[in-house]
């Protein structure tokens, strides 16, 4: 069964068509890279898949489950998690609280107005473990405002991984990072077990190519090339629109 399947997806903002007849089929455990120049509609595609935007036409399934009419919050419960290109954390809270909120999102406990959140030892130790996985265990009690940009990127990933997603959408996880930080984050992503299917948007081909098994090239909202790493890199259309040759 396909992990994530997108069929004939369309989206326009007014007269601007940002997604046009996009088809995408990602197999379970696959590492898929989506590339394309600025404005190709990569993030919009993610927003459509997660339900933050509603598609004009087309359909999507997650392991056979039709997502098209599911509200965004339900898609998280069905096993879809994402990170944001523009870091979207809870700035006043500690790293631990950020990841705790992520875990709480899938737990019925989130409606409980009587329990003490600080007393939920199981939840908190899970959150600490998730921070440990991205190498931030020692900073768990530090507010987000006092961490570096690279650390925040990893918190984004920790929050997504904490939800044990089936499909993980990474939106430019290397954006704004130094070379060393990129290497760390890449190692982190490479360490994610194969029961998580990963779709990654990346602008920077150098780091991203190493990760990808299959690559989809978007241009003006359309899929123009799709195939294995070698096929896509060698494809003349890729070179034309993306590598600028």
């Amino acid at each position: 069964m396909t992990a994530l399947e997108v069929r004939e997806l369309y989206k326009s903002f007014g007269g601007l068509r940002v997604t046009a007849a996009v088809n995408l089929a990602v197999e379970p455990g696959e590492r898929r890279l989506i590339i394309g120049p600025n404005g190709a509609g990569k993030t919009t595609l993610f927003n459509l898949i997660t339900g933050e935007l509603r598609a004009d036409a087309g359909s999507m399934t997650l392991f056979g489950h039709d997502l098209t009419r599911e509200p965004a919050r339900r898609r998280a419960h069905l096993g879809l998690a994402r990170t944001y290109q523009i870091i979207t954390l809870f700035p006043g809270e500690t790293l631990l609280r950020n990841v705790t909120l992520s875990l709480l999102g899938l737990s019925p406990l989130r409606w409980n107005p009587l329990a003490r959140l600080a007393g939920q030892t199981e939840l908190l130790s899970k959150a600490r473990a998730a921070l440990g996985r991205v190498g931030l265990g020692h900073l768990a009690d530090r507010p987000v405002g006092q961490t570096s940009y690279g650390e925040r990127r990893r918190v984004e990933i920790a929050m997504a991984l904490a939800q044990s997603p089936k499909v993980l959408l990474l939106d430019e996880p290397f954006a704004g990072l130094s070379i060393e930080e990129r290497r760390d984050v890449l190692a982190l992503i490479n360490g994610i077990p194969r029961d998580v299917t990963i779709v990654m948007i990346e602008h920077d081909m150098d780091v991203a190519l190493e990760f990808a098994e299959r690559i989809t090239v978007l241009h003006f909202g359309q899929v123009i090339v799709e195939g294995t790493r070698a096929e896509v890199v060698e494809h003349p259309r890729t070179k034309e629109v993306y590598l600028g040759e």
Binding site: A76, Y84, L117, Q163
Partner: protein, 328 residues
Amino acid sequence: MKLRSPRGISAAVALLLLITLPFWIGNSYYVNVATQMLIYAILALGLNVLVGYAGLVTLGHAALFGVAAYAGATLINAGHGHIVVAFGALLTTVAVAAVFAVLALRGTGLGFVMITVALGQIAWGIAYRWISLTNGDNGVSINARPRPFGLMLEAAPALYWATLVVFLVAVGSMAIFVASPFGASLRGARDQPRRMTALGYNVWLIRFLAFLFSGFWSGVAGLLYLYYNQFVSPQTVALSASAEALLMVIAGGTGTLLGPIAGAVLVIVMKDIASAYIERWNFVLGAIFVLIVVFMPEGLVPGSTRLWRWGIAAWWPRATAVTGETGE
């Protein structure tokens, strides 16, 4: 909070002072002022759930306060017993809050504010014009202070203590709510609604439930106001009353437990005590708000805490260096 910690001790002292207030404050006029402070503090605490923790500024909460008072007065005058009055008034308030929430939550930010203003004005219009229901401009009086569960509330100290009990329950419920997972969900929905949706939260429903909780405590305050005043008029639900409650929350410190209480005390002190000495007390209150905004934009309680720490650090740098941190 440990019992022997500085916070535990100050809480115990504050509680003792509150309980014994009718004995040391001397005059029953001041006991009544203290009762008013508690009533408005409950309203401000309820409002703070929306303004502070949900990040939804509303200018229609006097309507909920007023609905409880009008509903209570109507039920009392129809000859119902205390339990029917209390349940009836609070259920009506929560139901009206639900309608307000469904309409107002279509927007956030300025849209939300404007819808709550409009709803508040509708409530005011009903209070003012639907004479068969609300007796219009004359308002509704109740003949005697009710005696819930046989409690004689006629004397000022008795009503004060009854209000104090309700106030303490309100503070306790807020403390539990804020520290709960739902409280964390609500603050998350305030700070990053998009993210919260992507994490699996139903942001709309979280806000809706917070609105009901907020409305409930506003209703409790409204009912107490009716018992205290034995009279309710359209003034109670006017826009200026909503603005006053909002100012209490903002002046005291939004999103803090003690802020709304401090704000309520400040406004009532100005209205009921300072007004006896200063004819233009409104002007002084306005000046105080300006000073708060300039020097403590986060509100009285967080602002004073900040200045206190800064003062300690400036005067006794070694003390803070040794103990590491102060308070909290």
